[in-house]
Every structure is written in structure tokens, then in C-alpha cells.
């Protein structure tokens, strides 16, 4: 730019200085001068054209080259980028969320805000990882409930052992620890007995060792834990106490002073097939009352009852066909002393689920059968669930599920349901 302006100024100055002394001369001289000027004008125009061309070229070159300053800056960015790539602490966020619509036989259909469950990971080198999942849920009355699903610090001791301390998902079975997030669960609901307050324990506060190792040509994985154990809920029906449920969600304190321990062992004979066996044992005490009629007497001197869990699970995959099955039984012993002394009970459930992703489409069909049996007849449920899913991506899934429920006549457990859900794992 500057160059060309200067150049034009010079040319004009020269032209004028040549032109001035000859102005007063004769006609001939005038004509000669005119010719000269015209020629010069022509030359000037040509030069301008050439200059313009040159300028376009310069622009092109400018666009395609990097100045020293720019290169310095780039270098800085590159250095900064690789610096960030290799820090001692990595920060990572993932999680899942779902929304939907549910319409049950004897209830009005409603939009449901399922859950927003962000997961935070902070990782110190390849030695420690802090894992934490929060769960936000909007309840029926519009209140938002927040729960700490899990919070652990994992220590990768070596290639085969990791020690986990804190509140963790129960390592028993496969549904609770690995399949419950909505982008993973192929149906819009948990199998009866595997949700919260069912037959399968949800979480535990304690210490866990887990890992995997090769076993000949096979592979094995394991988890062993010791924790505070669950607490029990009893029901007061106006005349006496009856066991209502097991509250097996990681307790912040061990109110009965008795620990529970257990674990799971998984075997993968070959890729695509896995068997698991789980067990836990310990003690559990009644700590809360569900009153259905009258006023309940206060709890006092509650006896620690036997608590035992047993489970088996299996998973088989072949191409886009997957079959899963799981059985779990949680058993509580009887109490003979204490205000809420009553018989024991057992909660058990099993499900089998088959799914098939139709090749070259994004549609997936799912069928699941569940049989849940508890001490309360009104909650027992046999369920057929059918689902059709659309996989926008591996982690973004639209689901339509129909539950054909068979329970006690008149009980909620007997109502069939439609569920529509959109789940996103991020």
C-alpha cells in the first residue's frame, strides 16, 4: 500500500518537473509536450495496472505466509497446548440425563424430568482418581432432590488392584453398578427389584478392592468390599410392626455398629460372555418407621438382624444381539427383641433381557421379563417390558417402552405403563 502511494507521488513529481519549464514554448513544443504527457499518462496507467497486479500477489503471499510475530505466537500456543496435555491432574466431566413422558393405566400421563447426573473425575497421574456423581431429580411436587450417588477416591495400587474408599455403587450384580444409567439401560425403567429400595443393594459406604486379571485363556474380574451396611425400614399398620424394606443406599454412619461385607467375582471365558456371582453378609437394624395407620410406638433396643445377599448374573453378546440375566436375593433375619421385633423377610428378583439392533438401521428392539417377590404382596410384580429404541448415537437414545405389569389387583404394581424417554450420556 505505502509503497505504491510513494511510487505514484514520485512519478507525478518527475512528470511535473519535466512539464513545467516547457509550458511557455511554441505550439510545436506544446504538441510535443502534449504527446509526452499523454505517453507518460499511458505509462503511468500501465504502471498502476502492474502495481495493482503486484498488490494482489502480495496479498496472496501475505495470506499464505506467517510473519515472525505470528510464528512466535503459534509456537507459544503449541507449547501451551502440549503443556495442558500432560498435567499432573486431569479434570474430566461426564454423566447423563434423561427426560420423558409416562402414562400409567390408572394415573394421568405426565411429563417427567428424569434425572441430571453429572460425573466429575479428577485424576492425579495414573495413581489416583476421584470419582463423584451427583444426581438431581425433580420430584412430583416440583422440589428438586440432590443426592451424592457416589464419591470415591480410587488408588491404582498396581495393574491388578485398585483400592476404592468412600461411597460407591454396590458391586453386587450387574444392573446397579453398570446398567442403571439411562443411556445404558435399554428400557426406560429399571427392572422391578433393581431400582431404589428393592432387592438389589444400591450403594455402600466403605472400602473396596477391585480389579481384573488374566486366568489362563480367560479373564476374571473381582470386587471385595466392607462397608457400613444397610438399615431397615419397618411398617406400623396400626396394630403391629412388619418389615417394610431394606434401605441399602450407602449410609454416612454405621448406626448399628455392624459392618457388612461382600463382593462379586466375574469370569469372561471368551469375549462376549460373562458370568458373575455375588454375595454379601452382615447385620442390619431397623432405624425408621413407615406409618400406614395410627401412631407408632417409638423404636427402642432394636436388635441387629442377619443380612444376606446372593446374586448371579450373566451377559452374552453376539454381533448386535445381547442377552442379559440377573438374579438377586436379599434376606433379613427375624428379630426377637426390640420395639419393632418381627419376622424376617426376603426380597428377590430376576430378569432376563434380550435386545437386538437391526443391522444397518438405528432401531433396536428390546424385551425383558422380570419377576419380583417381596414380603409385601402389594409390591410383588411380574413384568413383561417391550421397547423400541432409536439410537441417534451410541450415547443418545430415544426409547419407547411398554410395561405389561401383573401385580396384586388394585395395586400400583398391577398397572400397565407407557414410558417415553430421551436419554443422553455425555
Amino acid at each position: 500500500m505505502n509503497h505504491s502511494k510513494k511510487f505514484i507521488r514520485h512519478v507525478l513529481a518527475i512528470a511535473i518537473s519535466i512539464a513545467l519549464p516547457t509550458v511557455a514554448s511554441a505550439d510545436a513544443a506544446y504538441d510535443a509536450l502534449k504527446q509526452q504527457v499523454e505517453m507518460m499518462q499511458k505509462q503511468l496507467a500501465e504502471m498502476q495496472k502492474a502495481l495493482e497486479k503486484q498488490q494482489v500477489k502480495v496479498k496472496e503471499v501475505e495470506a499464505n505466509t506467517i510473519s515472525r510475530a505470528e510464528a512466535k505466537e503459534l509456537e507459544h500456543h503449541v507449547n501451551a497446548a502440549s503443556e495442558w496435555k500432560d498435567p499432573n491432574t486431569l479434570i474430566h466431566m461426564s454423566g447423563y440425563a434423561d427426560i420423558g413422558y409416562t402414562d400409567a393405566q390408572d394415573e394421568d400421563g405426565s411429563f417427567v424430568v428424569g434425572a441430571f447426573a453429572p460425573i466429575f473425575h479428577f485424576q492425579y497421574k495414573d495413581m489416583f482418581m476421584l470419582e463423584s456423581e451427583l444426581e438431581f431429580e425433580v420430584e412430583d411436587d416440583g422440589e428438586t432432590k440432590v443426592a451424592l450417588e457416589y464419591l470415591t477416591i480410587d488408588w491404582f495400587v498396581n495393574d491388578y488392584v485398585a483400592l476404592v474408599g468412600g461411597k460407591f455403587l454396590s458391586p453386587l450384580g450387574q444392573f446397579r453398578q453398570n446398567l442403571h444409567p439411562s443411556w445404558i439401560n435399554k428400557l426406560a425403567s429399571a427392572p422391578p427389584g433393581f431400582g431404589h429400595d428393592g432387592a438389589a443393594p444400591v450403594s455402600e459406604a466403605g472400602l473396596q478392592a477391585r480389579g481384573g486379571f488374566p486366568l489362563g485363556n480367560m479373564r476374571a474380574n473381582y470386587a471385595v468390599y466392607i462397608g457400613n451396611g444397610p438399615e431397615l425400614v419397618t411398617e406400623w399398620n396400626g396394630t403391629d410392626f412388619e418389615l417394610d424394606g431394606i434401605d441399602a443406599e450407602g449410609k454416612g454412619a454405621d448406626r448399628d455398629g455392624k459392618k457388612a461385607w461382600g463382593g462379586r467375582f466375574g469370569l469372561i471365558p471368551f469375549a462376549g460372555l460373562e458370568f458373575g456371582i455375588s454375595a454379601a453378609t452382615g447385620k442390619a437394624t431397623v432405624t425408621s418407621i413407615e406409618v400406614t395407620a395410627g401412631t407408632a410406638p417409638a423404636l427402642a433396643n432394636e436388635q441387629a438382624r442377619d443380612y444376606d445377599v446372593f446374586g448371579i448374573d450373566a451377559a452374552w453378546q453376539y454381533k448386535s444381539f445381547a442377552l442379559r440375566s440377573e438374579y438377586v436375593k436379599s434376606k433379613i433375619g427375624r428379630a426377637t427383641t426390640g420395639a419393632s421385633a418381627s419376622d424376617g423377610g426376603q426380597w428377590k428378583s430376576w430378569y432376563t433381557q434380550a435386545s437386538y439392533l437391526f443391522p444397518t438401521t438405528k432401531f433396536e428392539g428390546v424385551t425383558r421379563y422380570t419377576d419380583f417377590d417381596s414380603p409385601q404382596d402389594a409390591r410383588d410384580q411380574k413384568q413383561w417390558a417391550f421397547g423400541l429404541n432409536y439410537l441417534f448415537a451410541s450415547n443418545v437414545i430415544g426409547k419407547i417402552t411398554y410395561e405389561l405389569n401383573d401385580g396384586q389387583k388394585g395395586a400400583i404394581a398391577d398397572d400397565n405403563r407407557w414410558l417415553v424417554q430421551m436419554a443422553y450420556g455425555f
Partner: protein, 203 residues
């Protein structure tokens, strides 16, 4: 009651043993562990990453995100430390873009214009076999069957080379094929060679 007490003791003993084991074998914290390997990692990925949930796209996350995710999945799926390092090697390689360098010198030969040092078969066995199988029939949901001349192999070499180089996902496919099968070290010539080799499955 007594049996429970006894088994509690047994468990504590087990835990202590585990701890002792843990302290004695520090294969990883001391930095002497084997580094991750791309091919083993592709196998770990194929065998594990679809066990619990739909297999995710190998190019879906940034390297640092894969790093944390792999450790998270080590915890979930009972992977060994070695399997974790291997799958990280695979996933971070799959991320390397098949991008052109910013400043190119037209005269200098680019890496990819060099002749292939590997045979198509060698490339296949090194990089592609984990997902496409020794028989070319595919080991993953979504991987095509190369034993048939129909399907993807009905396309020209040029198209196949492009799909292998840039990565490829057909509509409705549960999983994408990562660019260069995840192995950024492959040259254009390697890819031409392996595409030729693919055709031998359908003969």
C-alpha cells in the same frame, strides 16, 4: 453368627493380603510398566468397550478425556492396568487427525508419498484384524463382511482408500471406522496395499 464372624475375619485377612500384594507389586507407580500398545489396545476395545453399553465412537473424545474415561472404565469393567494403557494407546491414536500440515513445501516428499514398506497383509494383521477379523468377516457389530464382493467392496479402490484414510461411518451404523483404523503411522501406499489385500477375502 459364628460363621459370619469367622468369615468376617477371613475377609479382613483377604483384604490385608490384597493390601500386602498391592504394596509388593508396584508395576505401575514406579514407571516400569509396559507402555500401551496400539494393536493390543484395539483388541481390548473390541472385547470390552461394548460389554456394558453401546460401543462409543473411537473418535468421540479428546485425548485427555479418553485418558480419564479409560481409568473410569478400568474401575467399572475390571480391566488390568496394562489393558488400560493399551486401550488409551488405541483411542489416542484414533484421534490423530489425518490433517494436512499447515505449511507444506511442495518439493519435499511428504511422508505419505513414500512407497509402502509393508505388504497389505502385514498392514491388515497389524492394524485392521482386531475389528475386521482374520477372515475379514468382522468381529464387531457394524463391521462389514469383506468375504463378500458385495457391500463395501463393490466400491472402487479410490473410494475405499478415502474411507479408510478419513474414517467412515455409514448411516445407522452402531460404530464408526476410525481414520486409518486408528493407526496414524500408515502411509497412503500402506492403505492402497491393504485395500488391495481386502479384495483377497472375497476370492
Amino acid at each position: 453368627m459364628k460363621t459370619i464372624n469367622n468369615s468376617s475375619k477371613a475377609l479382613l485377612a483377604t483384604m490385608l493380603t490384597v493390601l500386602a500384594m498391592a504394596f509388593s507389586t508396584t508395576t505401575q507407580a514406579d514407571g516400569h510398566a509396559k507402555p500401551g500398545d496400539f494393536t493390543r489396545g484395539a483388541n481390548v476395545w473390541r472385547d470390552n468397550c461394548g460389554r456394558c453399553h453401546n460401543i462409543r465412537d473411537a473418535r468421540e473424545l479428546r485425548d485427555d478425556q479418553w485418558y480419564s474415561t479409560a481409568f473410569h472404565m478400568r474401575m467399572r469393567g475390571g480391566l488390568t492396568g496394562q489393558e488400560t494403557r493399551d486401550v488409551i494407546a488405541f483411542l489416542t491414536s484414533s484421534n490423530k487427525p489425518a490433517r494436512k500440515p499447515i505449511i507444506t513445501d511442495a518439493k519435499a516428499p511428504t511422508a505419505s508419498s513414500k512407497a509402502s514398506k509393508l505388504s497389505g497383509k502385514a498392514v491388515y494383521n497389524q492394524t485392521c484384524i482386531a475389528c475386521h477379523g482374520a477372515d475379514g468377516k468382522g468381529t464387531l457389530p457394524g463391521a462389514p463382511d469383506f468375504s463378500s464382493a458385495k457391500g463395501p467392496l463393490s466400491q472402487t479402490d479410490d473410494i475405499l482408500v478415502k474411507h479408510v484414510t478419513d474414517g467412515f461411518q455409514s448411516p445407522g451404523s452402531p460404530m464408526a471406522m476410525p481414520a486409518k483404523g486408528g493407526n496414524t503411522a500408515l502411509t497412503d501406499a500402506d492403505i492402497r496395499a491393504v485395500v488391495k489385500y481386502l479384495r483377497s477375502f472375497s476370492k
